[in-house]
Amino acid sequence: MHCVPGANASLARMTQAVSMPPRFEVVRTAAGVGAHARGAWTVDHAAALSTELSAGVVAEPVRIDASGLDALDSTGAMLLLKALPLDAGGAPDLGRIEGLTPQRVALMRRVAQALDGGSVPPVAPGALHALLANIGETMLSILDQGRQLLGFLGLLLTTALRVLPRPARWRLTSIVHHLEQTGLNAVPIVALLSFLVGAVVAYLGATVLEQFGAGLYTVDLIGFAFLREFGGLLAAILVAGRSGSAFTAQIGAMKNREEIDALETIGLDPVEVLVLPRLVALLIALPILTFVAMMAGLLGGMTVGATSLDISPVLFTTRLQESIPPQHFWVGMVKAPFFALLIALVGCLEGFKVSGSAESVGTHTTSSVVQSIFLVILLDAICAVVFMELDW
């Protein structure tokens, strides 16, 4: 610590114990090589001290006189140990140091003992190695995740088959509760967002199609887009963010508080009690929300058509009925239960994977949302290709 003359009193007080710079002076006499350790050997001077020591190490002092030490803390003791020659056992030879108070000798012994525990394992290998290891680990974890997801699906199906013939174990209260949470409460946000996206798509379509004098085809665009793709996709993405994450957080918190273990010790099956009601609720809620999203999107397009594109609502609905056969509606709807299955599966599985800390709940919730949105879009893309090839 550097202290200018006349600096304020508290700073001077602060540096009192550490103001004498430490010295390590090698002296050669007829009797042999010796060294004097002087000043404050403390952590504040550790950097200067270690440079000084590495310069003096060539002399290999026979005895060290430590009577000139002003202060010695554990870091200073560690550095002093390094300056000592080793004894027969390979440990620093404390007998070769003189002028230490008994308390400082005790400190030196304690420090020597603390350092005896071996070395800290290395942090990590080089950057390239780490990169490759990281890629490998990620690939393995993706494979493992897929395997776990399939395993969980199997577990869920067998549990469902076991419970299905026994209506007494259907847990209607729980199902209705989750229907409200994931379905009813999601209606406003799903409807509003779909309405807005519908309006945006209408504007986009009109801007492009007007150039060819085909402004009316905006209706076809909206119809195709929302019935086949956007309705289901928007609803599923919102539900994944809203309810998939909630499933993970709820089950994860229960796992943390050992509630899951408590269920098992009482003889209840956590999959039956926690996962099935959520899955059933989502299987009912998501198709309904998909329908809501489709209608809201069409309404958004219709509103923009009526207000800025000279397409009256009557013209809009007529055109819609003429150009979009109902099969497109069913193509959109049929995907909804599969999206629901994916979201419930991922959400609950991530919840069960929570372990230990509160931090783990956060990590798995994030992972649950990312995975379920990814899987929903992937499945949707596969379906789009398949339905296109089938000419549906």
Binding site: N8, S10, L11, R13, M14, T15, Q16, A17, V18, S19, M20, A40, T42, V43, D44, A46, A47, S50, D70, A71, D73, S74, T75, M78, T101, Q103, A106, L107, R109, R110, V111, Q113, A114, L115, D116, G117, G118, S119, V120, P121, V123, G356, S357, E359, S360
Partner: protein, 280 residues
């Protein structure tokens, strides 16, 4: 205090060794702490002497942690003065820096930074306060981990991979990073099994002796009080009821002290301590 810094330092070192009873490192005078209408401390006085292990006890809500937070500067008291090594924890920037540099706190759950491994946790304060070559920093971290009694294979573990007792040891290693003069411990043995708690008590005692620490120890653990505390400060009635060696505390006729120290658990702890003494 003499004008020569070297002489001062030597004087201080001797004071540490001899356990000079006049050397007060923490001085609290007329401390008031209130939360809304609830008065926690009213006119509280406390002295902590260099080199001692002071046990701070008191019922729930008597403000043991609040007192510690006022002393280290985490909470500004409503009234009164606090001096730590003659510095004011609520005063100038320099005073606060000096206290930060020369005291350390072990929080109840260890309060390890969860994204850093044990070695990195120890190195945080070293990086912040000192400009050291990384090899030397690593050596110091290894030393502190060794001093706290952790095995070296724990050095690269994350806090979430450690057991409760190991977390406390890692927290202690981090607290020792800058060789503090005063160590604050908030219920260090809470949540440890009796064997782990006894080992931790032993560790605190040996570290105090080797490093010349002053220890401010909040505890509920009667075994700790009997085994390692030089003096015990009892918080009650919004002040320090008594701050004295344990026999004097035990002799004080006060209902809380009677309930606390003369209940069946206290007697068991005392007997165990007496047995350990006579056995040794």
């Amino acid at each position: 205090m003499s004008a020569l810094p070297a002489a001062e330092a030597r004087e201080r070192a001797t004071a540490r060794q001899d356990g000079d009873i006049d050397d007060t490192v923490i001085q609290v005078r007329g401390l008031d702490n209130r939360f809304g209408s609830q008065v926690v401390h009213a006119g509280l006085d406390l002295d902590v002497r260099r080199g001692e292990i002071l046990g701070v006890v008191g019922g729930s809500g008597t403000g043991k942690s609040v007192l510690m937070r006022s002393i280290v500067g985490l909470r500004r008291p409503d009234n009164g003065s606090v001096r730590v090594l003659r510095f004011d924890p609520h005063g100038s920037e320099e005073d606060r820096a000096a206290i930060e540099r020369r005291t350390a706190v072990l929080f109840q759950e260890g309060a390890l930074f969860s994204s850093l491994d044990v070695t990195e946790n120890v190195e945080v304060a070293l990086r912040q306060h000192l400009d050291l070559p990384s090899a030397l920093r690593g050596d110091i971290a290894r030393l502190k981990i060794g001093l706290s009694g952790l095995p070296m294979d724990a050095a690269r573990k994350l806090p979430s991979e450690l057991s409760g007792g190991m977390k406390k040891r890692a927290g202690l290693a981090r607290a020792l990073a800058l060789d503090p003069e005063i160590l604050f411990l908030d219920e260090p043995t809470a949540g440890l099994d009796p064997v782990g708690a006894a080992q931790f008590d032993e560790l605190i005692l040996t570290l105090r002796d080797a490093l010349g620490l002053t220890v401010f120890l909040i505890t509920h653990d009667l075994d700790t009080l009997f085994a390692i505390c030089d003096r015990v400060a009892v918080l009650a009635e919004q002040r320090v009821l008594i701050n004295a060696p344990l026999p004097e505390v035990l002799a004080l006729p006060h209902p809380w002290i009677r309930d606390y120290f003369h209940g069946p658990r206290a007697r068991a702890a005392q007997n165990a301590h007496v047995a350990a003494r006579s056995g040794a």
